[in-house]
């Protein structure tokens, strides 16, 4: 893979990551809007969802910055390697979110719903995977 193509691809991925950031912020707003009207335990679940979506937005920002770096220097290995760490951090945040819902609601049903909230951190995870996949200069 030549450097110019890798630079162009990184620029496109940076835009994609920015869109992922916007998507996560939209999800955070949707969760917060519903949390304001939801009763009791459902409100706790949705506030955790809003927090996870904000974390997803921050992770998408990290992916965007990594791609900006790759657009400047396509051989920047640290930017690619950082995607693995980012994925672990995001998944840890999700796991903590599930435990918080369990601790606050003490209900299996809401804990299961919190497990499904992995979708809220999916945008940065997918963009991180696409970034790690490349194309990178050989």
């Amino acid at each position: 893979m030549d450097e110019r193509t890798a630079r162009d691809a990184a620029t496109i991925r940076a835009r994609g990551a920015l869109a992922a950031l916007a998507l996560c912020l939209l999800l955070a707003m949707a969760c917060a809007a519903f949390a304001l009207t939801a009763p009791g335990d459902a409100a706790a679940l949705l506030w955790v969802g809003a927090a996870l979506a904000v974390i997803g937005a921050l992770a998408a920002l990290v992916v965007q910055r990594a791609n900006r770096r790759l657009a400047g220097d396509p051989r920047d290995g640290a930017a690619v390697a950082g995607m693995g760490l980012l994925a672990v951090a995001v998944l840890m945040a999700w796991a903590v979110g599930v435990l918080v819902v369990l601790a606050v609601t003490r209900e299996v049903v809401y804990t299961l719903a919190a497990l499904a909230f992995v979708v809220l951190v999916l945008p940065p995870l997918v963009m991180g995977w696409v970034t790690a996949k490349g194309p990178h200069p050989s």
Binding site: D8, A20, L23, L26, V108, A113, V119, L122
Partner: protein, 239 residues
């Protein structure tokens, strides 16, 4: 932003997905034409991937969405109804349960005899039955409605994320497809988009189904535990 506006935005996003998919198809075809000039077999392979994998998956998704588009559900109505059950049924009956106890009326202490004893014995049953309307029925129904509402929201989130990532990946893949050297990156990006779309649907649908089944089980449980309603009906006052 109201839930109706969110739904409207989702409709618009889906239309955008359809437009982006068409743009990707055009970009892919244009690049294939360029490749075909000097390497026909690469173009053949890419066309086979497109026709055998991407297009059928796309068609399936479009069919599924058009079938389920108008049955989204309204979580705000579930939450509103849950509140109504608590404030309109549970709370008033709970407050009145305390009135069905001995000592509320002068007749409770002045009235003596066999009939008075029978009456006083039955007062406790009335109090328990009134209390159960709130605890056993109103609260269970409200909690079940809340669970279904939360399930619908989780399903929406899955759909929004699925569509959102698909749009992002299709746009990214379209950008990659305009260059011959970038073409190898197109399949993984498209796969990631489709996998996220399918994953979002499965996770959202799974969560909604689980929450609805658990809510149904709670309601069925409330109907079968009738200890405070002798014989499954409201306790009689006199017999």
């Amino acid at each position: 932003m109201t839930p109706e506006e969110i739904l409207e935005k989702l409709h618009a996003k889906w239309e955008e997905v359809e437009r982006k998919a068409t743009a990707l198809l055009e970009a892919f075809n244009n690049t294939l034409q360029k490749i075909a000039r000097f390497s026909g077999w690469v173009a053949e392979k890419a066309a086979a991937f497109w026709n055998n994998t991407v297009v059928p998956a796309w068609q399936k998704a479009v069919d599924w969405m058009s079938e389920h588009w108008n049955v989204f559900g309204a979580p705000w109505l579930c939450f509103g109804a849950a509140g109504d059950w608590r404030s309109g049924v549970g709370q008033p009956t709970s407050e009145r349960a305390g009135l069905a106890t001995k000592g509320q009326l002068d007749v409770d202490t002045t009235w003596k005899g066999t009939a008075a004893t029978r009456y006083n014995d039955r007062l406790g049953e009335q109090e328990r039955a009134l209390g159960a309307v709130s605890e056993q029925f109103a609260e269970t129904i409200a909690a079940s409605l809340t669970k279904v509402g939360a399930g619908i929201i989780t399903w929406w989130l899955g759909i929004i994320v699925g569509i959102g990532i698909l749009v992002i990946c299709l746009v990214t893949a379209t950008g990659e497809a305009i260059s011959v050297f970038g073409l190898p990156a197109v399949p993984p990006t498209v796969y990631a988009g489709w996998a996220s779309f399918v994953g979002g649907l499965i996770i959202g649908t799974g969560a909604l189904t689980t929450l609805c089944l658990l809510a149904k089980s709670d309601l069925a449980g409330a109907r079968t535990k009738l200890a405070k309603f002798p014989g499954g009906s409201w306790p009689a006052f006199g017999s």
